[in-house]
Amino acid sequence: MLLKEGDIRIPAGCAISGFISRDGNRLCGGDIVKSISYMHDRSNGLGGGFAGYGIYPEYKDYYAFHVFYNSNDAREKTERFLDRHFDVINLSRIPTKKIPAITNEPLIWRYFVNPLPTKIASSQLDEKEFVVKCVIRINNDIDGAYVFSSGKNMGVFKAVGFPEDVGEFYRLDEYEGYAWTAHGRYPTNTPGWWGGAHPFALLDYTIVHNGEISSYDANRRFIEMFGYKCTLLTDTEVITYIFDWLHRKQGLSLEDISSVIAAPFWSEIEAMEKTDPERAAKLKYFRNALSSLLITGPFSIILGYTGGIMALNDRLKLRSMVVAEKGDMVYISSEECAIRAICPDAENVRSPKGGEPVIAELNEEGKRKCL
């Protein structure tokens, strides 16, 4: 019998794509589906997914939970749990379109919720941490229930299939957001579990990732000391937790996080000691204090978060990744074709260096419109 994610570690190659309108213009989900479809051969039909930001403006103050259920029993248990811990503002099935390419779908539900203040107070946690703990509890303790998206004014849509089919299945052309990311998966084997598709999300952090990190178990065993539990055994999961811990909990900037997980080589740091001793000292500190969070092996990732996207390659740049611009738009993709597909006259096309973060965020106008 094939084991599902969490029971076994499955390496995968992949395609990723993403874009953001820095002015906060709302972009149709159909664009991201079109973009990723041009890299059809980089996935093998065993997983595709999307993350959209700014897609729920009417519910932007509520956590949007997207949940897979294997059974109505699991749904009822989960809903009882949600009722105990959250104020549920709205619930519904996520609209989908039956297509032959996507089969065996679980029950897919969406909830807009707010944690109950009394529960937060008694837990002695801050609100976000409380939400994270609840999500982890549902995923670990309720058999057949899996929360795969849990941020505000954003959502993940994923399934087993080619990404273009997944996009059609979820009717993404009916959504609009200021930023989108996409993932096409090429796993080396898979049980075809929907939860194992990417993006992986925690709160509003989403990661799409192409690569296979060789530092996986070193990273996993370190981050698990801080209350995380890597249940899927995927790179994407552990990278998301690393971002969550360093960014949300430790307050490190995204640039600094890049210097931790894709740290410059010692030769570069030593050279910097003469030109910029302060920065060299900081980099050395990171490589000492946070050495277990160095990620080695090939990866190219797009991190999505409220108000921005960030692209990052491993320090040897063992995976392709290009960025381009056009007006207020920033595009990131595994291959240039996926950018040209939706923006034929894209400008400033370039390959960021290994370990060089590319961060694109909403500008003031965009923030006013979207946040």
């Binding site: 080396t188 178990d217 698990e224 030769s267 500190y285 000492n288």
Partner: protein
């Protein structure tokens, strides 16, 4: 003439066709095995005195000598082995505790040899260390539990005192007294050249070697030999020796005949007296006392250097390590029971303690389970024999390793396991000036540098094969290991899967 109950352990075989009677073997053998009989114009041997150190074999200009196990055997019994019978005869003759040196030769499982390492294929490229940067620098010491910020919002980069190693290998504790001054000099100079550290052991630090202080770990053991302010100030780190893998639960004993003028001055004890370190530290009868010693040493050195606590791998090593991690230690060194020694009671060496592989895995996991792995670095010791052992140790969770036996091999040791006799023909485990001068530190240090360079190169090759280009990404990366021929229980303790899984 009394009956000798047991025959010589070795046959010294001389090819008389090759032997030119130059008598070099006679001059070189401190055990006085070889002698010349003028009446018969013949080289003869006293086989019973041979310890199989191979010195004569190596220096014989015509290659005329061979030392082979004496084929004579007692009636076979798997229960009462030849060795056991001899030991009982010997004890019946002397009434004494049996002494041995170096690591146990008994056939316990060697888990290093039952662990296999991963390599990249297809989904993840291997990395060629000749073409890409490959990093083996490590820091040992306490790490912060999270990011601290300065008042202006910038990241606070202050960190507790640490050791910086160019490669995750250090020379383990060997005292001046148990080994010679020339051996110490070789280790100190090699550590300096390599950018790593050597360890004084419990014998104090010879005045001539204070200049290597930046690469020296000074040890504070239960006998407190040679410990004073200058000594503590000179070292890069201070190691409190609570135990040693080869002889857990007991102290040390350097016989008076090895305490010459120099050793006496360095150890700060009278010449010719036995140097006996007690089994426990008599100011440490529990963990809270250890904490006091750790902080006494930190106070004495104004919190400028990390403190290492070295313990022997014993049954509840994980709980002990957890206690130490919460007691202010910056680094824990764990010494497995196959580790070497200059002298240990045979029964202790061969029966007490547990293998480093299991101890290391248990400690690393326990500290992670308790969320305090960051509080300390872990150094694994006690039979780390080659570069692949280093890789496996790091993947199991060690930050670095201590090596001692391989370092002695580099200096010429042939593991005859009779260091306690003080008659080391290779000039290592002896204080006899005529023997000590056989070890040239100029040559010795270069051989040590070569050895560690070679290992470092091999570590890089193995890491590159796994697609890892910096050693910190290997640390605790147990997914890179698989067991072979191990029970589920052993796999569970090591925290690894079986090959094929």
């Amino acid at each position: 003439m009394p009956v000798n109950f047991f025959p010589a352990e070795f046959d010294v075989v001389r090819n008389t066709d090759k032997c030119i009677k130059c008598r070099a073997c006679e001059r070189q053998c401190s055990n006085e095995v070889h002698f010349y009989d003028a009446d018969f114009d013949k080289m003869l041997t006293r086989d019973a005195q041979c310890v199989d150190c191979q010195r004569c074999v190596c220096i014989c200009p015509t290659g005329a000598l061979k030392i082979v196990p004496n084929p004579n055997d007692f009636r076979k019994s798997p229960n009462y082995t030849h060795q056991l019978m001899i030991e009982n005869y010997r004890q019946a003759g002397t009434g004494a505790v049996l002494l041995s040196s170096m690591g146990t030769p008994k056939e316990y499982p060697i888990y290093w040899d039952k662990i296999l390492i991963n390599a990249s294929q297809v989904t993840n490229p291997s990395i060629d260390p000749l073409r890409e940067p490959m990093e083996t620098k490590v820091f040992l010491g306490k790490k912060p539990a999270g990011i601290r910020k300065n008042p202006d919002g910038s990241v606070c980069t202050k960190i507790d005192p640490y050791l910086e190693l160019s490669t995750p290998i250090m020379f383990s504790a060997m005292s001046y007294g148990s080994i010679s001054k020339n051996a110490h000099e070789s280790l100190a100079r090699a550590a300096e050249e390599l950018g790593i550290y050597y360890n004084t052991g419990e014998g104090g630090l010879h005045r001539d070697f204070y200049r290597y202080g930046a690469n020296t770990i000074v040890q504070v053991a239960s006998g407190r030999f040679g410990v004073f302010k200058d000594y503590l100030d000179t070292g890069a780190a201070i190691e409190i020796k609570m135990g040693q893998g080869a002889k857990p639960g007991i102290g040390g004993h350097l016989p008076g005949q090895k305490i010459g003028e120099d050793v006496s001055r360095t150890r700060m004890i009278p010449m010719g007296t036995d140097a006996i370190s007690p089994a426990p530290h008599h100011d440490i009868y529990s963990i809270e006392d250890l904490r006091q010693l750790i902080f006494s040493l930190k106070e004495a050195t104004e919190y400028t250097k990390p403190v290492i606590v070295k313990i022997a791998a014993v049954h509840n090593v994980a709980a002990i390590a957890s206690g130490i991690a919460r007691s202010g230690a910056d680094i824990i060194a764990i010494d497995g029971f196959r580790g070497g020694t200059g002298a240990a009671p045979t029964r202790i060496r061969d029966n007490v303690g547990i293998p480093i592989e299991l101890a290391l895995a248990a400690v690393d996991q326990r500290l992670r389970d308790e969320g305090i792995r960051n509080e300390v670095s872990i150094v694994a010791a006690g039979s780390v024999r080659c570069s692949s052992d280093v890789v496996k140790a790091i993947a199991l969770g060690a930050d670095a390793v201590y090596i001692a036996t391989p370092a002695l091999l580099a200096l010429g040791c042939h593991l005859c396991r009779t260091c306690h006799s003080g008659k080391c023909n290779w000039g290592i485990a002896t204080q006899r000036p005529d023997l000590v001068k056989r070890l040239n530190p100029e040559v010795g240090y270069k051989r040590l540098v070569n050895l560690v360079h070679a290992w470092d190169h091999e570590i890089k090759e193995i890491m590159g094969g796994m697609g890892i280009n910096s050693v910190e990404a290997l640390r605790g990366n147990r997914l890179m290991l698989r067991g072979i021929g191990l029970t589920q229980k052993e796999l569970d303790i090591l925290g690894i899967r079986h090959a094929g899984e």
